[in-house]
């Protein structure tokens, strides 16, 4: 989230799209309903009428996988009708930047496409620069080469009729949503977009989010109270795991992942540090060397950080998604691994194409499953259709204790690091994840010491001084993540002693005199103590006006509660909307939130994390194009793409040998997957909680009355869903909440199935995970699987009723 949960109450128009917030983030509605009570409009765009739609003032159905058509149309609508916030767009976005002559878009492809490698040469999308290397601009926005005009041309194809035809959304709904949301393109109005996996889990997932971010920039909705681009993080600490780099493409604090071609530290810093010649750009990532050196010193405090860099694992110079989830399972499926640690996950039920994952697990010699309870993954060797005798894999189960049985922080969607104290004793043999990791690591280290091995330095030298009384101490790690002075240092006349905690990331040094495990967390555990454990409601009147609690927990970065807040004020530091000011310059200093950099008003551009300081309407950094473009999902009811001759994202991650259902009469219905309030993730925890299981006991498939009538299915009947990859049998919920779509003049039926009901849900379950149906295709930037849309067949189960 650029903003935070409480801030939702400040909004005038809330667009929930690609999220079922009421069901999957029940607490969000504490604030959504407050906004509504203030008179705000709640809009829900979703293929299904859900508990979120039930609370919305306006619900608009959309065929899964057509979000960019809808957003592209809205961009055109905003541009055509001059609904954008002109001052914001000119001053704070790259709308005025001139795009270079090599940029082109033809037949669904951007310039620079190489069909052999299925990738783009992104240099072709560069801006035009002056002789000092600063991008040329036309603040009048009239130059045909400027970003705004490029966008106008690009989205000209996204006219109302096309949007209606492709998305299946009725025309009156399209216009109602567009007009309502675009009404926030004024300084005194705030619009927010809430999204979740419904935007991400697509082969165009990143571009979906780019598109909605562009709309927020056009309307001046970023950096203001009640605005923002708000990803609702579901898994209790998914924000924290991303921050700490449980991802294949970065190191903690979103530092780039080392690559084989960046052989030494200097090469890494050079490649990772963006350069700008624009004096107004803060270009925050120019500090990368301080954060990288401090990270290396956090891992290896006594080593030289440049040497320590050579110990880090490095990825090959290929596409980063080759290291992502789907690629790992493809490789495992092909016998590419001997063993696997499966930690707090359930790929055999929760992962896309779970049937493939189950087969992949059987190629392993061993696997270690760390979880609270057994699940479809730890028990894959005796799952449906598997004869344990045929499985060679040795499975070790390590019971982990749960969140309330250990200390530590959890980062919420609003980036608040919230400290929790252990409140119950762990049970049986279970251990905290920290203890499991450290003990395992020390055993491995012993083996290296005793037997040697290839490249032993990273193992032998890693610092693991996180124990207290023989047990893992979360505070010790938290202190290291904040950062510590390793030497006496003087910063701005202030003396710091070796061993003291750094006050924040501004104190981090590039010369190895500070250690910091995650620079964005710096400031969370200082000499003043554990800032994450604060429960102080003190606030200034400015903060009280927008529900900001700066002394409650700690928000990264720098305790800033609303990101890019310098974009919410004009060049003089005056808030665009004084009633809801996030920050304001009072003539001497900033008041309100922590500003995005303390410079005086107008001194620096607000989007400090991007190289040139302005919000990127045109974003040349993504691998699949500088502007979001609609491509059909890999599996689709359409044979082509009504917007261009290019059917699917040409750069998407997929495995050519796996068949896809494209306008395939065997699989005529669009299917999407989702979650329910009452179960958590793949159900590993919640199915043990009888009160929750009682409310949502079984897998089900929601379908329209129209489709049910066509199939002869009655509510409560058993139905079989089948895709290219597998089949599952579940209960039919026949409901008016799903309706057939009219797409390109044809009726398209969509069904939906929650993925949280694997065979482990209950004894003798006749159902199984919806992920047996979903495909192994993914976004080219992140590798996230397209589990939100694929094609299935549905038929009544032979017995009709549940056995």
């Amino acid at each position: 989230m650029t903003n935070h949960w409480i801030d939702l109450k400040n909004s005038d128009v809330l667009l929930i799209m690609g999220s079922n917030a009421a069901e999957n983030h029940p607490i969000s509605f504490k604030w959504v309903t407050r906004a509504q009570q203030r008179g705000a409009t709640l809009i829900h765009v979703d293929p299904r009428f859900t508990r979120t739609s039930a609370k919305a003032d306006l619900y608009a159905p959309i065929r899964s996988g057509t979000d960019i058509v809808f957003f592209g149309g809205l961009i055109r609508h905003i541009l055509d009708n001059e609904l954008y916030f002109k001052q914001y767009v000119v001053d704070y976005t790259n709308a005025s930047y001139l795009v270079g002559p090599d940029y082109d878009f033809k037949d669904g492809l951007f310039s620079g496409f190489n069909p052999q490698t299925a990738s783009y040469d992104r240099k072709k999308w560069n801006f035009v620069t002056d002789d000092k290397g600063v991008t040329l601009k036309d603040p009048s926005l009239k130059d045909p080469r400027c970003v705004l005009q490029v966008m106008r041309r690009h989205y000209a194809r996204y006219d109302l009729k096309t949007v209606v035809n492709v998305t299946g959304m009725p025309e009156d709904k399209v216009l109602a949503v567009w007009n309502s949301f675009a009404s926030t393109g004024r300084p005194d109005k705030a619009g927010t977009i809430l999204y979740a996996m419904g935007q991400c889990q697509h082969t165009v997932g990143v571009q979906n989010i780019r598109a909605l971010s562009m709309i927020q920039m056009l309307l001046g909705n970023i950096g203001i109270a009640g605005g923002g681009v708000n990803a609702l993080r579901g898994e209790s600490n998914v924000q924290g795991t991303t921050d700490i780099a449980l991802l294949c493409d970065n190191l903690p604090g979103y530092l780039p992942i080392p690559r084989a071609t960046w052989a030494d530290y200097d090469a890494y810093v050079k490649a990772g540090t963006p350069v700008t010649n624009d004096p107004q750009s803060a270009n925050w990532w120019s500090n990368l060397d301080k954060y990288a050196a401090s990270l290396l010193k956090a891992m290896y405090p006594t080593a030289d950080h440049k040497e320590a860099y050579t110990w880090l694992p490095k990825i090959d110079d290929t596409k980063v998604v080759e290291y992502s989830w789907l690629s790992l399972f493809e490789r495992m499926y092909n016998g590419g691994f001997k063993g696997a640690f499966v930690w707090g996950q359930n790929p055999c039920a929760g992962g896309a194409n779970a049937g493939k994952n189950r087969k992949a697990m059987a190629t392993l010699d061993w696997t270690v499953v760390v979880n609270l309870f057994e699940n479809e993954t730890s028990l894959f060797w005796k799952g449906p259709g598997v004869n344990p005798k045929d499985v060679k894999t040795e499975v070790f189960f390590l019971p982990a204790c749960m969140s309330v049985e250990k200390d530590g922080s959890v980062a919420n969607s609003g980036r608040w690091l919230q400290w929790r104290e252990k409140s119950a004793r762990f049970m049986g043999d279970s251990m905290s994840d920290g203890d499991i990791v450290i003990r395992l690591f020390e055993e491995v280290r012993k083996l290296y010491k005793a037997e040697g091995g290839k490249h032993p330095e990273p193992i032998l030298n890693l610092d693991t001084a996180y124990l207290k009384d023989g047990a893992y101490d979360a505070s010790a790690l938290a202190r290291r993540l904040n950062g510590t002075f390793l030497k006496d240092v003087t910063i701005a006349d202030k003396q710091w002693k070796a061993g003291q905690q750094v006050p924040g990331f501004a104190a981090l040094q590039a010369d190895g005199s500070t250690a910091c495990g995650c620079w964005i967390f710096s400031g969370s555990y200082t000499e003043q103590g554990n800032m994450m454990a604060r429960h102080d409601r003190t606030q200034t009147p400015e903060q009280a006006a927008i529900g900001l609690f700066p002394n409650w927990s700690y928000a990264w970065p720098a305790n800033r509660r609303i990101l890019y807040n310098r974009a919410g004020v004009d060049q003089a530091g005056k808030p665009f909307d004084p009633k809801r000011a996030v920050i304001a310059w009072n003539g001497e200093k900033w008041v309100g939130d922590v500003p995005d950099g303390g410079w005086k008003p107008g001194e620096k551009l607000p989007f400090i994390m991007v190289r040139e300081g302005r919000g990127q309407l045109y974003g040349p950094g993504r691998v699949d194009g500088p502007l979001p473009e609609h491509y059909e999902p890999f599996e689709s009811p359409l044979a082509g793409n009504p917007l261009s001759p290019q059917r699917v994202n040409p750069t998407a991650l997929h495995f050519a040998h796996e068949e896809k259902a494209v306008r395939d009469p065997r699989f005529p219905y669009v299917c999407t997957t989702y979650r329910v309030t009452e179960q958590w993730q793949s159900g590993t925890m919640t199915r043990k909680t009888a009160w929750l299981k009682e409310m949502q006991p079984d897998g089900f498939c929601e379908m329209s009355r129209e489709l049910a009538a066509q199939l002869g299915v009655r509510n409560g009947d058993q139905v079989v869903l089948e895709s290219v990859r597998g089949k599952v049998q579940v209960v039919a919920i026949v409901t008016p909440r799903l309706k057939p779509f009219t797409v390109m003049g044809e009726t398209v039926h969509q069904v939906g199935i929650p993925w949280q009901f694997g065979w482990g849900q209950k004894k003798n379950a006749t159902f199984d995970s919806a992920n047996l149906l979903s495909p192994s295709v993914g976004d080219p930037n992140t590798g996230i699987p397209e589990t939100k849309v694929f094609m299935v067949n549905v038929r009544k189960a032979p017995s009709g009723k549940q056995g």
Binding site: E23, P26, F29, K30, R34, E678, M695, Q696, D698, A732
Partner: protein
């Protein structure tokens, strides 16, 4: 007890998201059993109140003025100001059902074992009482009387994330309920507070009460906030009673 004393719930159904936090919290606080249910083609589960389900969120898909609505009804005992179940019970086993002096909570005691289940159930205009087979007791929501006496909110109210559920002194609850009703009526003129002068659980209905459940109001044919001068006794007298 006087009709403006004691405690009252205000349940603003316009805000309920059917998260069922209240349903789970009730079971958790009261340590109630869960059943091995099956999905019968609905999210509503267990399908009905039972001996160990005192709070049940009902889900109904209805069409109102051509618009699809999914309405949610977090149902529980209404704690009638003059409880017909108690009047009926008093005729057989005095003290089996009691009314708390301070709060007005209607409480089923151990002695409900000796009552005839059907008689008591049918005395209730809202069809709330159930029999717990494992103990033989008649059961229902008791306003979390233990919590309330200790100065805490009922478990269901405490859990509700959306401010659907409110609990407090009756006059205060009536005031906020009426204020909210006036607000809601601006957009939904048909909105009403169901049986608000008869019960201690004020349900704000945005659409006609029958859309939520046929027992949303005591007299479904006369659903109104102004059911007026009918006393509980009069209502009771109008209902055909089956005994046995």
């Amino acid at each position: 007890m006087s009709e403006n004393k004691g405690k009252t719930f205000f349940i603003d159904q316009t805000r309920c998201t059917a998260c069922r936090g209240c349903q789970a919290a009730c079971k958790q606080w009261k340590k109630l059993a869960a059943d091995e249910t099956v999905n019968t083609g609905s999210y509503q589960n267990p399908p009905d109140l039972n001996g160990h389900t005192f709070k049940l969120v009902r889900f109904n898909e209805v069409e109102v003025d051509g618009k699809l609505k999914w309405v949610f009804f977090p149902e529980q005992c209404r704690h009638c100001l003059e409880p017909p179940c108690k009047m009926m019970a008093d005729a057989f086993i005095p003290g089996a059902i009691i009314q708390d002096e301070v709060t007005g909570a209607v409480i089923y005691t151990e002695k409900t074992k000796e009552l005839d289940y059907q008689t008591i159930r049918e005395a209730c205009p809202y069809d709330i009482p159930r029999k717990e087979e494992s103990t033989g007791l008649l059961t229902k929501c008791n306003m979390c009387i233990d919590r309330v006496r200790a100065g805490m909110l009922p478990a269901c109210v405490k859990t509700c994330p959306t401010y659907t559920m409110h609990f407090g002194d009756r006059d205060e609850m009536l005031a906020i309920a009426r204020a909210r009703l006036a607000e809601v009526q601006k957009a939904s003129p048909a909105a009403l507070l169901a049986d608000s002068d008869l019960v201690r659980v004020l349900y704000l209905c945005e659409v006609h009460p029958s859309h939520y459940h046929h027992h949303m109001v005591a007299d479904a044919g006369n659903a109104s906030d102004r059911i007026g001068p009918f006393s509980r006794r009069a209502l009771l007298a109008m209902r055909p009673l089956r005994t046995g």
